[in-house]
């Protein structure tokens, strides 16, 4: 930085000239006198953020939300959230003269008659998809690496709420243009509401201002879409970021990176430049998508007409999984005492998503309860080092994925020439069996990766160098890991299975929490039971001792280079001589 205290910058090629005193100084003083900014800035300007590509996923969500705000404001300038019937008189020939709602007409107007209107509409829709997708991937990253553990459980809950609100925001958004497709979505939503016991019919009549479709739903969804949910999203995002700053970011273990510190680049300048630059990258990418990739061409669907529908009607992808549940649910309905309970709608579309989000939010607390772990954690875990946790999420992902695929059962049937009936019957079983299989495979997979890590630590990595000994036997030379990598592999906790305290206290009275403890002990034993722990110091030393005996037959090679490059001259081999001493 150029300084105003008369010291010349040192790395210029030309001699420095005296600077005029900066105007920024007095302005900063003026502001600080009133706002006390310096105390806050002092703490945060050089705040450390650790670097890893996976920490960028949440950033994508944040920046696409900013793009949503910007493009959304643009759209509000022309969009008219009204269901008043008008005759379209715009530029799109195929629909001119047709009766439609003002909302649909203004969507067409934005698409055809407002310059940059279609771009902003498409950017807005793409940004919404990227927003939800990046939140989900960010959520998976946080879960798989154990970043949700104490003290960050509440931030996990906030994040889950953001995902829920983001999904609702998406639904209310794509319902607004009032085209045939979005109207079909609202029609189904009306059916969902009516399936609710006791209050369903009333909720539908209150939301729609009477019978479906009425003329209130678009203006009401608009208020929810541009005011209510964005307000909540903003507040929760602010809380999410404040907690991130307060807790400081998690980091991967490695040399010099411990539970007590955070190593990385300072906020100013590096992190601010990288994150700020990344905002422009996300914004720019969305602009390219909006310019080059068509999305939701509402003019092709025509205005909403409750007596029409298009084949292949589907919601936006993030609403696909409950739609899949709705499709594969058997048609169960109970009639009792003159009332109707439609399980076929109520269970998959009201109960199931609620249940899934509750499970999602509870995950950190469930794991903490099972493991009894009350420590703070700031070092991330590799997914393999928490096999049961990883397997649990993969099972949930499998459930989600199968439900999502079921939401496209008609498309699958059409494209793959399969029977829609058989796909549906298959899915009914697969959504239960699939997650179990995925769980078991993932858990064993993680454990075998752990085994591999331990083997590499104890016996070195496979160097690819084949040695022939004096007897003519061949063996592959294993070389010890570099210290950095070996340390990183071992920089994790040993898992401790929860052991309940003795069943009876000193006076022979059974402890009241005994049954709960026994369940917890069982779960904890399963949670950690098959995990491979990192080697102990004794094991490491013993294995090195073994290695020395094993490789005694390599002794004649002592002092020779192993990679063969001494022959082809590719590079110098000095310093690469084989040694049996590690």
């Amino acid at each position: 930085m150029s300084s105003s205290n008369g010291v010349a910058p040192t790395n210029g090629t030309r001699p420095a000239k005296a600077h005029k005193p900066s105007k920024a100084g007095p302005a900063a003083t003026w502001a600080d006198d009133r706002l006390g900014l310096a105390s806050m800035a002092k703490k945060n300007l050089r705040k450390v953020f650790p670097d890893h590509w996976s920490f960028m996923l949440g950033e994508i969500a944040l920046w696409s939300f900013v793009v949503l705000l910007l493009t959304g404001v643009f759209l509000t300038l022309w969009f008219r959230p009204s269901m008043v019937e008008v005759v379209y008189d715009g530029s799109y020939d195929q629909l001119r003269g047709i009766h439609m709602s003002e909302a649909y007409a203004s969507s067409l107007n934005i698409s055809f008659d407002v310059r940059a209107g279609l771009l902003m509409r498409q950017m807005h829709h793409w940004a919404a998809m990227v927003f939800v997708a990046s939140m989900m991937i960010h959520l998976l990253r946080v879960f798989f690496t154990g970043a949700f553990r104490k003290p960050r459980e509440l931030n996990w809950v906030i994040g889950s709420l953001l995902l829920l609100l983001g999904t609702l925001e998406g639904f209310t958004g794509y319902s607004l243009p009032d085209d045939l497709l979005s109207g079909t979505g609202i029609r189904a939503a009306d059916g969902f509401m009516k399936s609710m016991p006791v209050v369903g019919t009333y909720m539908s009549f209150f939301l729609f201002g009477g019978e479906f479709p009425g003329d209130s739903i678009i203006p009401r969804l608009y208020t929810v879409h541009v005011l209510l949910i964005p307000g909540l999203l903003l507040a929760l995002i602010a809380a999410h970021m404040l907690l991130l700053v307060y807790h400081k970011h998690t980091q991967w273990p490695g040399p010099g990176r411990t539970e007590q510190n955070v190593v990385g680049f300072p906020m100013l300048p590096v992190y601010a430049a990288k994150a700020g630059g990344f905002f422009f990258v996300v914004f720019g990418t969305l602009a390219l998508m909006g310019g080059l990739m068509s999305i939701n061409p509402v003019w092709r669907f025509g205005p909403y007409n409750p007596a029409e529908v298009t084949a292949g009607s589907q919601p936006d992808w993030y609403m696909g999984w409950p739609d899949g549940a709705l499709r594969i649910m058997p048609g169960l309905e109970t009639h009792i005492w003159g009332v109707t309970l439609s399980w076929n709608v109520f269970l998959p579309i009201i109960v199931l998503p609620g249940l899934m989000f509750t499970i999602l939010m509870m995950l950190p607390f469930i794991e903490a309860w099972i493991t009894g772990d009350k420590r703070e954690h700031h070092l991330l875990q590799r997914p393999r080092n928490a096999p049961t946790r990883t397997a649990l999420m993969v099972a949930l992902m499998t459930f989600y994925g199968l439900m999502w695929a079921a939401g496209g059962n008609d498309i699958i049937a059409l494209k793959m020439r399969l029977s829609i009936n058989q796909i549906t019957y298959f899915m009914r079983a697969a959504v239960f069996v699939g997650p179990v299989i995925a769980f078991l495979i993932t858990r064993r997979w993680c454990i075998s990766l752990q085994r591999h890590d331990k083997e590499v630590l104890l016996h070195g990595y496979e160097s690819g160098v084949i040695m022939r000994d004096a007897q003519g036997g061949y063996s592959e030379k294993h070389l010890p890991l570099p210290l950095d990598r070996a340390y990183t592999l071992t920089a994790r906790d040993r898992d401790e299975v929860f052991v309940p305290e003795t069943a009876v206290d000193g006076n022979g009275v059974p402890s009241p929490s005994n049954r709960k403890d026994r369940l917890r002990a069982k779960l904890s034993a399963y949670w950690y039971g098959s995990n491979i722990q990192k080697p102990t110091l004794a094991e490491l030393e013993e294995s090195h001792h073994h290695t020395e005996i094993d490789v005694a037959h390599e002794a004649p090679l002592e002092g020779h280079a192993a990679d063969g490059h001494q022959f082809d001259g590719r590079h110098d081999v000095s310093g690469e001589e084989l040694s049996t001493k590690h």
Binding site: E85, F112, V114, Y202, I328, N344
Partner: protein, 350 residues
Amino acid sequence: MSVDKHELSTTETDPIADPGLPEHEPRPTDVDDRAEKRAERQVASLFGLSTVFTLLFCVSYFVFKVGHHPSVIWGFGASNVALGLCLGLALLCIGIGTIQWARKLMADHEIVEYRHPAASSEEDRRAALEALALGSEESGIARRPLIRNSLLGAVAALGLPAIIALRDLGPLPGDKLTRTVWKKGMRVVQDVDGTPIKPADMEIGQLVNAEPALFFETNDHGEPVIEGVKLQTEKAKAAVIMVKMQPDDIKPAKGRENWGVDGILCYSKICTHVGCPISLWEQQTHHLLCPCHQSTFDLADNGRVIFGPAARHLPQLPLAVDAEGYLVATSDFTEPVGPSFWERDNYELK
């Protein structure tokens, strides 16, 4: 630092001691003057390029036409493609330039910051509790349950206006969901142009999307009797499909023997699952498939569900022929159409 007394999970020197942060390795731009200059030029060029694209955006805005005769490139709307490309590249250039600047030219020394436990110190906790106790004591909220409870009651009561004030969001359901505009003698007409239909107009296997004639009627001033929102609302319940089958294929339920005319049956078009209009008709099997969630109904068998998530048969509209030979309804639907709802009574087929 008071780290130790809090339970931070530790990775002790087990089994390998922490070798500590690795030495900082200089980048080419740190040691090579030319590399540094090159990076500087790269960054500045990207920023310069961004300005060019921004200007091109402005030019595109005015050059390419939208509206009745839009400009086209490669068959796409030129305005949208050009604006998107220019804006995207302008933004990307700033983004990539800034990141390049950070990676190549800004100091890349990693620095270390120490963590503090999330919890407040014991001291602060005690002080906070004391302040809380003092506040509670001075207010007397604990000592004066009368005040406390009456206040709680008053605030809780405020929930009532909050709920009651929403009452006018919509009218009560009443019997609106159980009735449609169909009535005895109303003609079943083509949904496109309102043409009435004679049984002879239909061929075996044909499906007609139909509506009540009321939707096309006009009053003395030539204005539609029913239009706008009212029309949409009624249409959402009264839309029907009419199919003609071989009379022998039809297996009418008890009491429905005379609901058809010459093998022509009329059913509600609104799916009993969540209300999508159904229209995928399989001529040979008499099956009707809902495109939303694939519920399938057998129209030869009283609209029974034969597949999918719907739980109820499609309501059937009883048909007859009027004096002029056109198809008419003989009554309204005998049960509510569309998705199930709590208050709906049971109407089993016999």
